[in-house]
């Protein structure tokens, strides 16, 4: 009996010890920042790229002593690229992990839902990768975004379509999500403006692998330009299956597809594909970008930073900058969250994507993507800005039929 009692007492003591050690309010506690992203699922690779950029930034800040002598800790919430999972994840970050601010986020459909939760909970959210205009145009004052929205993303491309390409026929092949449909809306309007005939609007689901049905139909219709609003895996498979079905068109994507994995999968098959991009390696003349690429490659051996690593890096840098400018944390979570929100509004910082400043809706307006094209140099696919002329690294190349391509 005595032994049993002893065990119970020890058990209680241990439980108490655990409780005390995780209790709040200790001075050396790290500063928690919530990071949303589809860390599992078919977009996991892209989220991983974003995370790498973020970890690079946070490790550098922590190595220099963190913020106010406290380390910054990233707490991840997995959205699986599904709005319902995203809402559950962000609620946990806000109420249980008590994060000061939520960053990251990938996929428009998810961010439309999670940003609304943050607004209701009065917690600032800075969206890293999502282009649907809806996210910032609902008058929410706790919502910010460090990536261009779809009109901004596509402005340069629209200009190019109107002044250089002038296609007579176009078609659409896109993800059946807010990402796909918002891009479709903009390009559909642009097609009407330049008098191009819209031959087809075809959709697919995230995670689809067989696009032969859609591509066979497109081949029958022969559009000059096909808008392909897809992510890495789907976009690479579409390029491959286009070759298999002998279909030639000028593919135009948003740019989120041009990741390291995309080039590994599609290889030279993606020659001539175009998109609006913010690839950090494009503007190597910029010392900030060059420095970022160097540090990134030093930290992750053999890895090449893509658009998502750079967007993730900038996103977390903006958040840490806003926290830094508070001066010190009050200990009252809501007051601190509001102070961070007020500081975010006044953000003005030069980062890898360019200068970041927010307009009244919380949308960055200073980051400008350009139309890029995949061209083959020394047998390897590379991205070049092709418009406007003053920024172009190479001239636009018209897609050749498959049997005339040298590769």
């Amino acid at each position: 009996m005595k032994g049993k009692l002893c065990k119970i007492v020890w058990g209680v003591v241990l439980c108490l010890a655990v409780f005390i050690s995780v209790g709040p309010g200790m001075a050396a506690d790290p500063i928690p920042i919530g990071i949303l992203g589809p860390f599992t699922g078919s977009l996991a690779f892209n989220a991983e790229e974003m995370k790498k950029g973020m970890v690079l930034a946070v490790d550098e800040v922590n190595a220099k002593g963190g913020l106010f002598g406290r380390k910054v800790e990233l707490i991840y919430g997995d959205t699986e690229a599904k709005p319902d999972k995203g809402v559950a994840a962000v609620k946990k970050l806000i109420t249980r992990d008590k994060v000061f601010v939520v960053g990251g986020g990938y996929a428009s459909s998810v961010n439309i839902a999670t940003s609304e939760v943050c607004q209701n909970e009065k917690t600032p959210i800075v969206v890293a990768i999502a282009i649907s205009p809806t996210i910032t145009n609902r008058g929410f004052d706790y919502v910010f975004r460090t990536s261009p929205n779809s009109p901004q993303f596509l402005a340069g491309m629209n200009d190019w379509l109107e002044k250089v390409k002038k296609p007579k026929t176009v078609a659409f092949l896109m993800e059946n999500t807010d990402y796909g449909r918002d891009g479709e809306k903009i390009w559909s309007a642009q097609s009407k403006k330049i008098g191009a005939k819209e031959l087809a609007h075809l959709y697919f689901e995230i995670g689809d692998t067989d696009f032969t049905t859609q591509i066979s139909k497109l081949r029958e219709l022969k559009p000059e330009v096909t808008f392909n609003i897809a992510s890495t895996t789907e976009a690479a498979l579409i390029q491959k299956q286009a070759k298999e079905l002998n279909f030639v068109t000028q593919w135009i994507g948003v740019g989120g597809q041009f990741t390291e994995a995309f080039f590994k999968m599609a290889g030279t098959l993606c020659q001539y594909a175009m998109g609006s991009s913010l690839e950090p390696t494009l503007a190597m003349k910029n010392p900030i970008v060059a420095d970022f690429v160097k540090r990134y490659e030093a930290k992750y051996q053999k890895a090449r930073p893509g658009i998502f690593s750079s967007q993730g890096y900038d996103n977390i840098m903006v958040i840490m900058d806003a926290i830094q400018r508070i001066g010190k944390l009050t200990g009252d979570l809501q007051k601190d969250r509001d102070a961070i929100r007020d500081n975010l509004k006044k953000t003005s910082i030069e980062l890898t994507q360019g200068k970041i400043e927010f307009d009244k809706t919380g949308q960055v307006y200073t980051v400008v993507p350009s139309p890029v094209q995949v061209q083959i140099v020394d047998g390897k696919p590379q991205l070049f800005i092709v418009y406007p002329p003053e920024r172009a690294g190479s001239a636009y190349q018209e897609p050749l039929p498959w049997d005339k391509r040298k590769i």
Binding site: T40, G41, S42, A44, F45, E48, N176, L202, Y203, F204, E205, G207, D208, T209, D210, T212, T213, Q214, S216, K217, R219, E220, T232, T233, A236, L237, K240, K243, E244, L245, N246, E260, A261, K264, M265, L269, W402
Partner: protein, 293 residues
């Protein structure tokens, strides 16, 4: 327009043959052992990863053919151990729920394990012919797609021969039709169970390599073939191999034609609409007959 129709039918047949190959393994295992294996598609994923690692050792089409053999053997081996150590202890208890739970658990384990071991980046099994195209009278495709199609047809024919012409194949069919009668005829049921699971898993592995060659290889890739294989199995009749073969082709063609002429958005839904209709109208499936209860 006629050529578009032919093209779409052909697209459907190619995809259908691969789904059919995966579904045959599923339906065999169900027919003989009454196990609904929700991790079946993940065996395909394992096969695809086997191929990815093996194909770097040999070059050209020998590497591709070799990777098919390695994948079938490797996944067959995994199937052997999974049956022996996981499913067999549960089979004696004869409750369906814990077998289903086990296979769902296995599916989660394999998928997350793959993410940990192989990483999340999608990969492709390199095409030994460099996506070389083939343009026939009414349609075009790639050489590798045509080969995958022919290969899965060949596999299906070999399996049919095995099941009808060999003693072991007859024993498998006998066990599937009536377990107790087979036992009384002196058939070693435990061996048949093991054999069925190994053959079924190996077919899933082969299907995975074909799927990974035409499409892509990533840890989550098993989910879609699992769902399609269940749709096909229900369509053709649970446990019916002929049903799985025709079910695969019917689903593949129904999806492409439905996508082309009805709506692209509902392309994936067609499989599930078929499941619901079949369950409502002909619950035994197209080839189910009434031999099973």
């Amino acid at each position: 327009m006629e050529s578009l129709f032919v093209q779409q039918v052909f697209n459907g047949l190619i995809v259908g043959s691969i789904y059919g190959l995966i579904a045959i393994g599923l339906t065999m295992i169900f027919g003989v052992m009454k196990i609904a294996n929700f991790a079946h598609g993940d065996f395909s994923m394992l096969g695809a990863y086997c191929a990815i690692y093996f194909i770097t050792l040999l070059s050209g089409w020998t590497g591709w053919l070799g990777s098919l053999i390695v994948a079938a053997a490797g996944v067959g081996l995994v199937g052997f151990f999974v049956e022996k150590f996981l499913f067999r202890p549960l089979l004696t208890r004869w409750t369906d729920i814990d077998i289903i739970m086990l296979s769902i658990g296995l599916f989660i384990l394999l998928e997350n394990g793959a993410r940990l071991v192989f990483g999340t980046a999608p990969k492709m099994i390199p095409d030994p012919f460099g996506s070389k195209g083939v343009n026939l009278l009414f349609f075009s495709t790639s050489l590798i797609r045509l080969l995958c199609f022919l290969f899965s047809i060949a596999c299906i024919l070999c399996l049919q021969l095995f099941l009808t012409k060999t003693k072991m194949g007859v024993a498998i069919r006998a066990t599937s039709q009536n377990r107790n009668a087979a036992l009384l005829m002196g058939i070693d049921i435990r061996f048949i169970y093991s054999l069925t699971f190994v053959v079924g898993s190996a077919l899933a592995g082969l299907g995975g390599v074909l799927y990974g060659t035409i499409f892509a290889v990533f840890p989550m890739m098993g989910a879609m073939p699992t769902l399609k294989a269940f749709a096909i199995t229900i369509l053709g009749g649970m446990g019916n191999i002929r049903g799985a073969i025709f079910g695969g082709f019917i689903l593949g063609v129904a999806e492409t034609l439905g996508g082309n002429y009805i709506s692209m958005q509902y392309k994936n839904a067609i499989g599930f609409i078929i499941i619901i209709l079949v369950l409502l109208i002909i619950p035994h499936g197209l080839f189910g007959g009434k031999e099973r209860k």
